[in-house]
């Protein structure tokens, strides 16, 4: 199993942590660049003590960019690799309480593609929370198809929040009403909602934000950023632990900005070039035997009182 860790983790730690994830009774987290570990019983006990009955250690998973319907040389069988993601998740030693899909569920927003997604992802044993990617906004109604499938109980054009195990999760839509010449966009309504949504929370509440396009500017020439993300991040700055998860760029990238960490994830469908490494950000065709190493899923482990949340990216290799 090929795995990538959050920044600052050396090879020895990586091996140690892999062992931890392989089922031994240890939990590792990354704090200020130092890795610490505690026995799982101690972590559970700490969680029960500090959590006020609500906070608890748990695992969740991020999958992204399944692109069902894509059939180009970069991966002629995205159906199979999406199924592989489901199998990998179901085989995790620590089963997730919930799963986040960070968008581009479909390639062309076709009804058959949404159906395929529903069938494949119904194999997951935990609830899945979705945000749309721009590929899920290609129907004539510009997002109506996505909202018909996944919009129940959400606000505006699909944004929503929920709490689990002491963590506040915020789902953002930054692919609606994109402006000529711009990048991704949240819009004033969504930012005003975010402000209200966060207003009642204490600064010690761990926050997980998930959206499709990066909320930090990865590469402006390719539109890899969100033009009004600063207004959203302003609302998040007072919190002690903010984990921002995104998809869109089909590769792992991390950035740390104060208490906010940004992490983009692999796709389950096909890779894209590193920022600026090709003439365009289009699908990257790699030798068939290399493809599994460039696709994958991400696990996240939350332990109360220990921030930030520890992430493990696992490829299909």
């Amino acid at each position: 199993m090929d795995q990538d860790q959050t920044p600052g983790v050396d090879r020895r730690t990586l091996l140690t942590r892999c062992a931890g994830w392989a089922g031994s009774a240890a939990v590792y987290t990354l704090a200020g660049g130092l890795v610490s570990s505690v026995g799982i019983d101690a972590a559970l006990a700490a969680g029960l003590k500090s959590g006020g009955g609500k906070a608890k250690p748990f695992t969740f998973v991020q999958i992204s960019d399944t692109h069902l319907g894509f059939d180009k040389p970069a991966n002629p069988n995205v159906h199979a690799t999406a199924l592989q993601a489901v199998e990998r998740i179901n085989a995790l030693p620590q089963q997730p309480d919930l799963i986040l899909h960070t968008g581009d569920i479909t390639h062309l927003s076709k009804e058959a593609e949404f159906d395929d997604a529903r069938q494949i992802l119904s194999g997951l044993r935990a609830p899945v929370f979705y945000v749309p990617g721009e590929h899920d906004y290609l129907d004539e109604g510009q997002g109506k198809a996505f909202l018909a499938h996944y919009g129940k109980g959400t606000q505006g054009n699909g944004w929503h929040s929920f709490d689990h195990g002491g963590v506040h999760f915020v789902a953002l839509n930054n692919v609606a009403n994109l402006k000529p010449g711009g990048m991704a966009h949240l819009g004033e309504d969504q930012i005003a909602w975010l402000k209200r949504d966060l207003s009642g929370l204490s600064a010690s509440t761990p926050i997980v934000v998930f959206g499709h396009i990066p909320l930090w500017t990865v590469y402006e020439a390719w539109g890899w950023g969100t033009d009004d993300s600063a207004a959203a991040l302003e609302q998040l700055r007072r919190f002690g632990s903010v984990t921002v998860l995104n998809g869109h760029i089909h590769q792992i990238l991390h950035k740390v900005e104060g208490n906010v960490t940004f992490h983009s994830a692999r796709s389950t469908a096909y890779p894209q070039p590193a920022p600026g490494a090709a003439s365009s950000p289009g699908p990257l065709k790699v030798p068939t035997e290399q493809l599994p190493s460039m696709l994958g899923i991400r696990s996240a482990r939350f332990v109360p009182g220990m921030s930030p949340i520890a992430l493990i990216d696992s490829s299909f290799a």
């Binding site: 180009k72 040389p73 970069a74 390639h107 062309l108 927003s109 721009e134 590929h135 906004y137 290609l138 004539e140 994109l178 402006k179 000529p180 010449g181 711009g182 990048m183 402006e220 020439a221 390719w222 539109g223 003439s279 365009s280 950000p281 289009g282 699908p283």
Partner: protein, 115 residues
């Protein structure tokens, strides 16, 4: 009514036939006045195209990623064009028509229509 000599008839006929032929040919060509814009490597090419009123612009997507052609003022827009798919629009009035790809809004272009 002045008479026309057989010679002059011949001259008129000789002039008129090719001329009418040319008119017929022009009439057949005019509705098919077409300009191509390719979409390749996430760029509209040419990015700015100048055409005369009545021209149909045809965009063809050569990328492995879908794109759209969406007027900034929403006066025309394609659905998502997958690889090799085309969208065409006939510009009937003069003006400048800026457009972009609604999936990748950093991709922009313009059609300048002369009267």
């Amino acid at each position: 009514m002045p008479s026309i000599s057989p010679f002059r008839w011949a001259v008129l006929f000789a002039l008129a036939v090719p001329f009418s032929g040319a008119v017929a040919a022009a009439a057949a060509v005019a509705p098919a006045k077409v300009q191509q814009v390719s979409i390749s490597n996430f760029v509209f090419s040419p990015q700015v195209i100048t055409v005369t009123a009545g021209t149909t612009v045809v965009w063809t997507n050569a990328d492995d990623d879908p794109h759209t052609v969406t007027a900034n003022d929403k006066s025309f827009h394609s659905t998502a064009m997958d690889t090799s798919e085309r969208f065409s629009f006939t510009f009937t009035r003069p003006g400048e028509f800026a457009y972009f790809c609604s999936l990748h809004p950093h991709m922009t272009g313009k059609v300048v229509v002369k009267g």
